[in-house]
Amino acid sequence: MPLLPKKKVGIVACSGEELPEGTVSRVAALKVLEALRPNDTVTICLPLFLAGGEGDRAFARFYPTVAIDGCEKRCAARATEMYSGKPAASIVVTDVVAGNGLGPIRGTRRLNEAGMQAADLVAQEVARLVDELLGRKREAEAEVEVAVEEPAAEAPEAPEDEEEAITLCSCGSGIPVQKVAINGRVVTLIALPAIFEQFYQAGKRPGNGTTRELLETTRIYNPIPPEEEAAYAEALAREYEKFCRKRAAHS
């Protein structure tokens, strides 16, 4: 049975070296990446992102991101939105410091006690957001943008040629994606070819129960707006039926 690629959350920290709060953003991001949620998060390199790193930009288009900024200038959140997509969530260190009545944050290279406390609080909040974004709380998904292509003038159809429809994610992760026509536009669904293959090998054949299960599994990797659930279910049922016909013909 194929292993499905795991959905992860991208962490973008401002890392502003000239401010203690920038160091808090960096330390908090590393706490999440290395200790709190090492298997659920990846770092998005802000300088590379700004310099045009296509892999990082593509990742942030497909996966939810959390921006951690030191100050109200919000460089990480703005850069993410400017070059890729709106972050699913955003945290500003100065807000956390003020909200928790922490003492003055000092030290750019080495944080003082208040700075380390702020980093702990920010890291815990980011970890909570990561849990939400990974589907442990459904309502968070509505904030995540759906990866879609430009709306077509006419209702498009998913490419007939399976080779054309199924490709690898452009973030370079090797994750298979499939383009599917939903509600008059073409939506790129992450991991769908692997999900279909897993269902087929498990002996699940097209039908209402399978469609419901497909919808839930697809939702783990892709944000599905509540108002479009029916359209997604219809599209998944259609595409899975096509998939099963082709697999049966080849066996």
Partner: protein
């Protein structure tokens, strides 16, 4: 700020070489040449922050990149600002093969020594720049 040399590190947080570049920048600005240098964050420059651009404008700028992608150098240049000298951690490591850096949150002793060696090289370049002025 008048007369100070601006130091811009790469800001990468996901790899060891980024940590070395930042540690080297802090060593220059806080320990070796505290009165003659100023640290400016790359993201502020790239996103057009007026204060950051004003700090850099008219001052020699030295970039310290983690790797060959040279994000700091490229982006300072793309912001329309000249780079007086650029350094990379990778080049420094080639000169000091015995100092293999490890760790991201906290550098190993070799990484700290590499950052120090790079910082001293940067400080010497800053002295030379001031001599040219």
């Amino acid at each position: 700020m008048s007369g100070k040399v601006v130091v811009v590190p790469c800001s990468g947080i996901g790899k060891t070489f980024g940590t070395v570049s930042r540690e080297a920048a802090y060593t220059v600005v806080e320990d070796l040449r505290p009165d003659r240098t100023e640290l400016v964050a790359l993201s502020l420059l790239v996103l057009g922050d007026e204060e950051a651009r004003a700090a850099v404008a008219g001052h020699p700028t030295v970039t310290i990149d983690g790797c060959r992608l040279a994000c700091a150098t490229k982006m300072v240049q793309e912001s329309g600002l000249p780079v007086a000298r650029s350094f990379t951690v990778l080049d420094a490591f080639r000169k000091h093969r015995d100092l293999k850096p490890e760790g991201i949150s906290a550098l190993n002793p070799e990484g700290q020594q590499l950052a120090r060696a790079l910082a001293e090289e940067v400080a010497a370049a800053i002295d030379a720049l001031e001599g040219e002025a």
